[in-house]
């Protein structure tokens, strides 16, 4: 695993053990810089948790904006074109835990985002349009792959 100091140095020869590590590197680096500037030591775990918190806040804000502005629409095609929804898709796999949490808590039309991010579609034909069943299908899909939320 790459050390915090190596992350802080931002070496052009950076090598990451996983895509997720690579994605987390920039915010972790930034948080470490903030920590140094303010004289507060920060462990890699703390930085990772802080980064996850930032992602959660960003997702929640986008999801709220989307619901507020698209709740009255009867076409999912229009809903998914909303900038907030597109930005959630843009979060990539970082958004998966939050999308799954939303499906579990309050099923809504996150299915297109899930398909766009994962390129998979676990919804069987007989469940098409049945939002609670579609949500359960995705949650089961995630459990089978060990995706946590």
């Amino acid at each position: 695993m790459m050390s915090l100091s190596a992350l802080q140095s931002g070496s052009s020869a950076d090598v990451y053990l996983s895509d997720e590590s690579a994605r987390l590197a920039a915010p972790i680096r930034r948080l470490s810089e903030i920590g140094r500037e303010r004289g507060a030591p920060m462990s890699l775990t703390e930085a990772k948790l802080a980064s996850a918190g930032v992602l959660a806040q960003r997702f929640d804000a986008l999801a709220q904006a989307w619901r507020r502005e698209c709740g009255h629409l009867s076409s999912v095609r229009e809903m998914i074109l909303h900038p907030a929804y597109q930005q959630i898709i843009g979060m990539g796999r970082d958004a998966l835990p939050f999308l799954l949490r939303e499906l579990e808590r309050q099923p809504d039309h996150w299915f297109w985002a899930l398909w766009a991010i994962t390129q998979e579609n676990p919804v069987p034909v007989e469940h098409r349009g049945r939002v609670p069943d579609m949500a359960r299908g995705w949650l089961e899909w995630a459990r089978q792959r060990g995706i946590r939320w």
Partner: protein, 159 residues
């Protein structure tokens, strides 16, 4: 009175509308107008996972939406006027012709609309949900109301 609803649909202001269900994303206006409150109807092609009647074109056109209702026994008609024994639906579209909404007429002449993932409401006229959000009603269809028995020489008052 619902402030958010009236902000989205200004034509509801001052009108005796009624909220008739809780908000839910489980079904939309097209489904509700078709009498289905268990599924969201959407013509999008797979990998979209939404319901659309078998054999009806999966296109976001007025014709495809009308065909979805003709599939259920509806036929085109001239207007929204209450006709005893007939159940009518209105399909709404924006100025560019994009279908946006459908409403169903109740037996008493009022209309019922599912507002996307928001609540169902009943409203006296189709135009009470016209405006920026949905455009206006552009197509009407009708079918015989279930349980209707035509009589002669008297007005039918089936519920």
């Amino acid at each position: 009175m619902n402030e958010r609803m009236e902000r989205l649909f200004p034509a509801l202001r001052g009108v005796p509308y009624e909220i008739t269900s809780p908000a839910t994303p489980g079904y939309n206006c097209i489904a509700w107008a078709a009498g289905d409150d268990s599924r969201w109807w959407e013509p999008a092609e797979p990998p979209s996972s939404y319901y659309w009647p078998e054999g009806v074109s999966r296109r976001y056109t007025l014709e495809a939406y009308a065909e979805a209702f003709r599939h259920l026994g509806f036929e085109d008609c001239e207007n929204a006027r209450l006709e005893q024994g007939w159940e009518k639906v209105a399909i709404y579209a924006k100025e560019d012709g994009r279908p946006t909404h459908a409403a169903r007429q109740l037996a008493n002449g009022d209309w019922t609309s599912k507002l996307g993932g928001l609540e169902d409401i009943s409203h006296p006229e189709p135009d009470h949900v016209s405006g920026t959000a949905y455009g206006r009603p552009v197509l009407f269809l009708r079918r015989r109301r279930a349980g209707y028995t035509p009589t002669t020489n008297q007005e039918e008052t089936n519920p």
